[in-house]
Symmetry: C2
Subunit: 513 residues, 2 copies
């Protein structure tokens, strides 16, 4: 610790040390329970007598800011609550007024801020759900299924065998053995990509971001299916793009609607989730896929296919990704290890024709040089040992059971007029309430009853979806699914009975995401 | 593996399988040595007789595309060289012409491409240096010093104790214990930041990127010291900013030059490396720091301080970071674990006032959701166990010895008229050749002699620096430093003797970075 001392000042050194530490404690820089440096150590660092530091510490203890434990040292008192408020300067006076940051924010930052506020207003109540709430809100894998011990072992192996190389700066495009592995692994889904057509990224999210930077200028139009994944929407919006919604029908986005947009607005790309659509869990039909590829080819507009994870399918065979049928090289495919393995690693990939991968790689280098090579090597080892195959089969079965339980409960418990999608892949389904019911108005009541969900409006680009809600089954224990649906059905039934329910004055203005 | 079979076709299934696999092999999707799926497994996946797959594999072996090892399986032949060229479709015909990607690239991607080409032209020869070359070119830590085993142990511990949480989605701003730790740890450098004033990022590079996104719009001006770190330049350029160079004098950037720019061009920020300046290794004087902060405060222009690593200092005490003297909260500080610990982890942080951290956190969420929590937790544990302190002291001593050896060799061996900086921190120093000598013209000759460096022009924004070159001492073994300098001095002496050396027609046009 480096305490600025003024040796010409009338204030004794011990008092200066005490004042400095007190300020740090009250500013929250030294949190409750933090051990202060040993007196001998601090005295040496500051070039003062040890007795000076001892005196300063004693005063801190006397003032209640610290506690001393014989033989252990001096610690910041546990009861101390840091004082929020403006930072003070070293003399305890108020610091110069800070800069007006908000006035300096870029256009992109201001768009992102507005988007975030709208989104926060929409999903905040569900995020605050406590332990007694059965939450269908989080579209995340169940960490109870994580193959933690197997992963720890491969981590150990790769650090032992290749540690020095894995911890040094490394290739921007990714760990070469992982790119080679993916090239072969992805064939099982019909995806054909040479290693040089693969870029390793920090999860799908960085995939969206690099694609947006590389293909979008402010003011460009982007076509996007609706409903859709909100975090992709946020990225395209923040890059200054105008979003054009293409509605989903039962078998995928309506190609004739997309064609009209392609003709009139010349969007720079079309974003979709053809096989594990979030929030509905539906998959695009083969016929829609063919028509979509033909339309994109005619207009030379790239399709960004968010693959989610084709291992998470609930039919006999997985539906082929759009990219598997892409002869023209017009589809940019984004894949991830976040759904089937570990979200916390932040590991995904982009498949695209080599000239585009080259530009995306340059964008990746500007963004963060490269993805952690250690984690790439560990995941590669995990996959190479066929541990991923075993794990994927196991969790797909588990999620399949939860999906089946949820569908059965909905069938049994929901009042008439409530409809839902039958997911063929992914982690969730979309419920549509009877006309006039608003899902976000329902949410606070549902939370009171101990059940959470995500209002469907979060997945709509242009303000629709008020009567829909997403139920994610991936992270809800089997034993809780039916009880959760029972609570939700009760709330829906109650709302249906309320006489005022069609009063337009009571409808909540839905924030767009 | 998912092979599309047409059961109505006259072509037998075994032939279809063979043709498909041959195409993958020749397209480079199945690399030499790749094991093909077991015949039983593939037969089941494709719903064909096992004998059909056996026949297909036999044909592959007969054609030379694969080899069979009794009891082990069938493998892609080692001698196969994938055929580059346009991707073919499933029937062996040419695919539809691909999209014109270059025509779709955004303005930012085109700027980045141009920058990259210029940079590549400049540094390519040094990057290609082989084993016999003594390379002063890479400004990177020596992986021989990496505390690999200690890190492996803490990795194990955190995975065992917190695996499920560390591998799940996590907080955008970073792993809370690491932010708390940094808040206290950084006090030793005089840096005061509450945990909520700290954002964890993927190394300094992501720091530059998030700051650029949050504060810069295309067309904005950015003031930047010169010489400076090229990767920061690339980020600011790619965001569409116009760069204004502020020259370094002996004691830091010339504040009066900055003031003129602040008055005339109203730049949105000023970027600098005050304590470990790359390439010179110099540190800003306290007086320059005070004047710089005052000027920035008057104009309300934030300073981006790239901290490199204050542990890597070669004097009695480290020079205080600019942010340590920043009462107004106008400095945005970027720190990293890449220099002192492991670059490959991609782990760094930004310190800034809370309102800015909040916006940077939103930008981080759009960019990649969060930094790997597992790696954050492992580094936290490593630091908490005081392993970083021990390691930092050790490597600072080692780098200090290399620095001293390099200075001594330069003193002894360089011909008159050659000057260099005396680094107070960091990994490198800057050499200035006698007037008329071009460092990039020197480089090919130096490589022939077995010594590499980085031409100084790479660190200049506006085309200067032709006569300078950077020598990094961090990754050169002690026993090689003097020999490397001897080779370099010989080449310089030779060039000085060449009569045509001042012929302006021979001067190489220097690419800007």
């Amino acid at each position: 610790m480096n305490i600025p001392l003024d040796r010409d000042k009338a204030v004794p050194l011990a008092r200066q040390i005490q004042a400095y530490l007190e300020r740090l404690i009250h500013d929250g820089l030294l949190g409750p329970g933090t051990k202060l440096p040993a007196t001998r150590e601090l005295a040496r660092a500051l070039d003062v007598n040890r007795s000076t530091v001892v005196l300063a510490y004693e005063e801190l203890v006397a003032s209640g800011a610290a506690r001393s434990h014989v033989g252990q040292g001096t610690f910041v008192a546990e009861g101390i609550r840091p004082q929020p408020g403006p930072r003070t300067d070293g003399d305890g006076g108020q610091a110069t007024p800070a800069i007006d940051w908000a006035g300096l924010f870029s256009r992109s930052a201001r768009i992102a801020e507005a988007e975030e506020e709208r989104r926060r207003a929409l999903v905040a109540p569900a995020a605050g759900a406590d332990g007694r709430v059965i939450s269908f809100a989080g579209g995340i894998p169940d960490s109870g299924f994580f193959p933690i011990d197997g992963f720890r072992r491969v981590l150990n192996q790769v650090v032992r065998e290749e540690g020095a190389a894995l911890l040094q700066y490394s290739a921007v495009a990714g760990y070469a053995p992982l790119r080679r592995f993916l090239s072969t692994y992805l064939l099982r889904f019909g995806l054909e990509a040479r290693p040089e057509e693969i870029l390793i990224v920090n999860g799908s999210q960085q995939g969206f971001d690099l694609i947006a930077r590389t293909l979008l200028d402010p003011g460009d139009a982007v076509a996007i299916e609706q409903p859709t994944y909100p975090r992709a929407v946020q990225v395209f919006r923040a890059s200054g793009a105008q979003l054009l919604a293409v509605p989903w029908a039962a078998d995928g986005p309506r190609v004739e609607a997309l064609e009209r947009l392609l003709e009139r607005h010349a969007p720079k790309l079309f974003y979709c989730q053809p096989t594990c659509h979030n929030p509905t869990g539906l998959a695009m039909s083969g016929e829609t896929a063919r028509r979509l590829l033909a339309a994109a080819g005619r207009h030379q507009v790239p399709i960004v296919e968010d693959g989610f994870d084709p291992s998470l399918h609930y039919g006999e065979r997985p539906r082929a990704p759009l990219k598997a049928q892409d002869r023209a090289g017009i589809v940019i495919y984004i894949g991830t290890f976040s759904k089937i393995l570990f979200p916390g690693l932040r590991l995904g990939w982009i498949l695209a024709p080599a000239p585009l991968i080259e530009r995306l790689t340059a964008a990746k280098q500007l963004a963060d040089l490269h993805t952690s090579t250690l984690l790439q090597a560990a995941v590669h080892r995990f996959c190479e040992r066929k541990l991923l195959d075993r794990h994927a089969a196991r969790v797909a079965r588990q999620y399949g059971r939860r999906r089946a339980l949820l569908l059965r409960s909905l069938e049994r418990r929901m009042p008439e007029g409530v409809r839902w999608t039958e997911p063929q892949g992914g982690f969730s389904l979309l419920v549509t309430l009877p006309h006039g019911l608003s899902a976000s108005a329902l949410l606070p009541r549902a939370l009171d009853r101990g059940v959470a969900f995500t209002p469907g409006a979060a997945f709509f680009v242009d303000g629709g979806g008020e009567s829909t809600l997403r139920l994610s089954f991936s992270a809800v224990a089997e034993g809780e699914i039916d009880e959760g649906v029972r609570r939700l059905a009760d709330v829906v039934r109650e709302q249906l009975r309320r006489p005022a329910r069609r009063d337009p004055g009571e409808r909540v203005a839905m924030p767009l995401v």
